[in-house]
C-alpha cells in the first residue's frame, strides 16, 4: 500500500459561472494532520466535501485511498470518517446505543490490519463520555455532542478522518479539550486527518501541515513554522532608549541586536524581538488575494 492517502490535481469547481475552486493541487500522506485554512467563502468546505464524496466536482482529478470519491462504493465509505459541524441527528437515541449501532456497519469491513469497529465503551472513555453512555443524545451539551460526533467519526477506525470546522461555536475550554482529544487520537492511532478551520491557533496546534486557501486556490502549503518563516523571514526588534520607542524590522535579528548593544550598551531598554507568527503570514497572504 502506498503511503499516499489523497491526491488532488487541478481540482476545479464552478457554481453557475462563478469559479469557486480555480485549480487546486495537493497530496496527503499517511499519518499527516493537514489543516485547510482560509477566509469564509474561500472554498474550504467545497474542497472537503468533494474529498468526502458528498459533492461532485466540475473538473480535475481526485483520488482518496486510491479511489475517486465521486464514484466510490460502500467499501470505500467504510475506510473514511466524517465529522461535520452541524450534526443534530438521532436526538432520541442513547449515546452508547447509537455508537454501538453505527459501529456494527463497519464489522464486515474489518481487515487483518485494522480491527473494525472500535469497542463502544472503550471509545466513549477515550472521548470522555464514559459517564454519559446511557444519556439521551438530546441531553448532551454542545461540547459533549461534538465529542460524540468525533467518536462516531472514528468508530470504524477510518484510514482518513475529515473534520469540518470541528470547534466552531466552542468556548475556549471546550476548544482546548477537543484539541487535546484530537492530539491523543493522532498520537495513539497515527490517524491521517484533513481538517478545515478558520482558527489559526487551531491549525497551529493540531496540524503538521497547513494549506491556505484564498480566492479559490492554494496560496501556501507547508508546516505552520515554515509558512510563518517563509512569508516573512523578517522579525521585528523593538526597544526604548532615552524614553524614546524604536521599531526596526530586520531579517537578521540576532546580528542587529548585537550591534545595537555594541553601539548603545546599557541605555537600550525594554528589548523585544518578535518573530512573524502564522497569523502574520496568513494575514499577509490572504490580503494579497482579497478581491
Amino acid at each position: 500500500m502506498s503511503d499516499l492517502i489523497a491526491e488532488v490535481r487541478d481540482l476545479r469547481m464552478l457554481y453557475g459561472t462563478r469559479e469557486v475552486l480555480t485549480g487546486i493541487d495537493f497530496d496527503i500522506r499517511a499519518g499527516e494532520v493537514v489543516a485547510m485554512l482560509g477566509p469564509n467563502g474561500a472554498g474550504k468546505t467545497t474542497t472537503i466535501e468533494i474529498l468526502e464524496g458528498f459533492r461532485m466536482r466540475s473538473a480535475g482529478k481526485v483520488s482518496v485511498l486510491g479511489t475517486d470519491p465521486a464514484h466510490a462504493g460502500e467499501q470505500w465509505r467504510a475506510r473514511v470518517g466524517v465529522v461535520l459541524q452541524s450534526w443534530r441527528d438521532h436526538a432520541k437515541w442513547r449515546v452508547r446505543e447509537l455508537l454501538r449501532h453505527l459501529g456494527a456497519y463497519y464489522a464486515r469491513y474489518a481487515t487483518p490490519e485494522i480491527a473494525r469497529p472500535w469497542d463502544p465503551d472503550e471509545l466513549l472513555d477515550l472521548v470522555g463520555l464514559g459517564g454519559h453512555a446511557s444519556a439521551r443524545i438530546a441531553s448532551l451539551s454542545g461540547g459533549q455532542r461534538r465529542r460524540l460526533d468525533l467518536a462516531i467519526g472514528i468508530v470504524g477506525r477510518p484510514e482518513l478522518l475529515f473534520l469540518d470546522e470541528p470547534t466552531t461555536g466552542f468556548d475556549p475550554a471546550a476548544r482546548r479539550e477537543f484539541h487535546d482529544l484530537v492530539h491523543r487520537l493522532t498520537d495513539r492511532e497515527q490517524a491521517t486527518v484533513l481538517l478545515t478551520t478558520h482558527d489559526l491557533a487551531e491549525a497551529e496546534r493540531l496540524a503538521d501541515r497547513v494549506l491556505i486557501l484564498a480566492g479559490g486556490s492554494i496560496v501556501a502549503d507547508g508546516s505552520p513554522d515554515a509558512l510563518a518563516m517563509r512569508m516573512s523571514g523578517q522579525a521585528e526588534v523593538r526597544w526604548t532608549r532615552d524614553g524614546q520607542r524604536f521599531v526596526h524590522p530586520t531579517d537578521m535579528a540576532t546580528k542587529f541586536t548585537r550591534e545595537l548593544f555594541a553601539q548603545y550598551g546599557e541605555s537600550v531598554e525594554d528589548l523585544e524581538v518578535r518573530r512573524a507568527s502564522l497569523e502574520d503570514a496568513y494575514m499577509a497572504l490572504v490580503r494579497e488575494y482579497e478581491p
Binding site: F54, R55, L84, D89, H90, K92, H101
Partner: protein, 278 residues
C-alpha cells in the same frame, strides 16, 4: 443479509423509543383518541337508507385511512425531518447506511401502523354493533393491509424526498385531508358528486378503505358502495398498480435526494430554520 439485519435493528430501536418516549406516546394516544371520539359521535347516526350505524361503517374506513396516513404522511414527515437534522447524511456517511435507514423506516412505519390496526380490529367489534371479524375477514384484512402499505410507503418516500424542508409539510397534509374527504372515509362515496367519486377512486386511500370495509362489515353493506359491490379485484388491481409504480419511482427519487445531501446543505437548512424561529 447484514444490511437488512442492521435496518431491522434500527427499526427496532426506534420502535422502542416510540413506545417508551412519552411525548411521542402522548401524541399517538391523542390522535387515536380523536379517531375514537369521531366514531362515537357517529355511532347514533345511520347509514342513509339503512338502519346500520354510521360509526360502525366508519371504523373500517378509518382503519384504512390510518394506514394511508402513516404510509404517506408519516413516512414523508420522518424523511424530511431526518434530512433536516442530518440523520440522513449520517446514514450516507456510514457504509450500507442508506439501505439500512430505508429498511429501518419501513419497519418502523409498518409495525406502528400494524399495532394500531390490530388494536382497532380486535377492540372495534366489541364496541361497534355490526362490525365483526370472521376468518375470511382477517384474510382479506391481511392482503389489503400489505398491499396498502406497499402502495402508501413509496408515495411517502417520494414526497418526503421532494419536500425542501419540513416547513413545506402543508403541501402533503392539505391534499391528504382533501383526499380523505372524497375517499368515502367518513361518508359513503356514493353520496358525493360523480366527479369527486372519480377523483377519489384514482388514489389508494379509497381502495384501502373499501378493502377494510369488505373485511369487517356484513356483505349486505356492499349495497352502499359503487356498483353495490366490494369490487375485490379492483381493490387488488389499483393498490398493486400504485405499489408497482411507487416501487419504481421512489428509489431513484430517494437516491437523487441523498446524493445531493452534504454537510453544507444541512448547515444551510439549519441556518434557515434558526432565522425563522427568531
Amino acid at each position: 443479509m447484514r444490511v437488512v439485519r442492521l435496518g431491522l435493528a434500527r427499526g427496532g430501536i426506534e420502535l422502542r423509543q416510540a413506545f417508551t418516549y412519552w411525548p411521542d406516546l402522548v401524541q399517538t394516544l391523542v390522535f387515536s383518541g380523536i379517531s375514537v371520539l369521531v366514531l362515537f359521535l357517529l355511532r347514533g347516526h345511520h347509514v342513509p337508507g339503512t338502519t346500520f350505524s354510521l360509526g360502525s361503517l366508519t371504523l373500517p374506513s378509518l382503519v384504512g385511512m390510518n394506514l394511508a396516513f402513516s404510509g404517506v404522511v408519516g413516512v414523508a414527515a420522518l424523511l424530511s425531518t431526518d434530512r433536516e437534522d442530518g440523520t440522513l447524511l449520517r446514514a450516507k456517511a456510514t457504509p450500507g447506511g442508506m439501505m439500512a435507514y430505508v429498511i429501518g423506516k419501513i419497519t418502523f412505519v409498518a409495525v406502528t401502523s400494524l399495532v394500531g390496526l390490530i388494536l382497532l380490529l380486535t377492540l372495534g367489534p366489541l364496541a361497534f354493533p355490526g362490525v365483526s371479524m370472521t376468518a375470511l375477514g382477517w384474510l382479506t384484512a391481511v392482503w389489503v393491509v400489505v398491499l396498502g402499505l406497499l402502495a402508501a410507503i413509496p408515495i411517502g418516500i417520494t414526497l418526503g424526498s421532494l419536500l425542501p424542508n419540513p416547513r413545506y409539510f402543508a403541501l402533503v397534509m392539505l391534499p391528504f385531508g382533501a383526499l380523505a374527504a372524497i375517499s368515502g372515509i367518513f361518508y359513503p362515496i356514493t353520496h358525493l358528486p360523480g366527479w369527486m367519486q372519480g377523483v377519489g377512486q384514482l388514489f389508494p386511500m379509497y381502495w384501502v378503505g373499501l378493502g377494510m370495509r369488505s373485511a369487517l362489515l356484513p356483505p349486505s353493506l356492499a349495497a352502499v358502495e359503487i356498483d353495490g359491490s366490494w369490487r375485490h379485484w379492483l381493490v387488488f388491481g389499483v393498490l398493486a398498480a400504485w405499489a408497482v409504480a411507487g416501487l419504481l419511482a421512489a428509489p431513484p427519487v430517494l437516491r437523487r435526494m441523498a446524493r445531493r445531501e452534504s454537510g453544507s446543505r444541512v448547515a444551510a437548512r439549519r441556518e434557515q430554520a434558526l432565522l425563522r424561529t427568531r
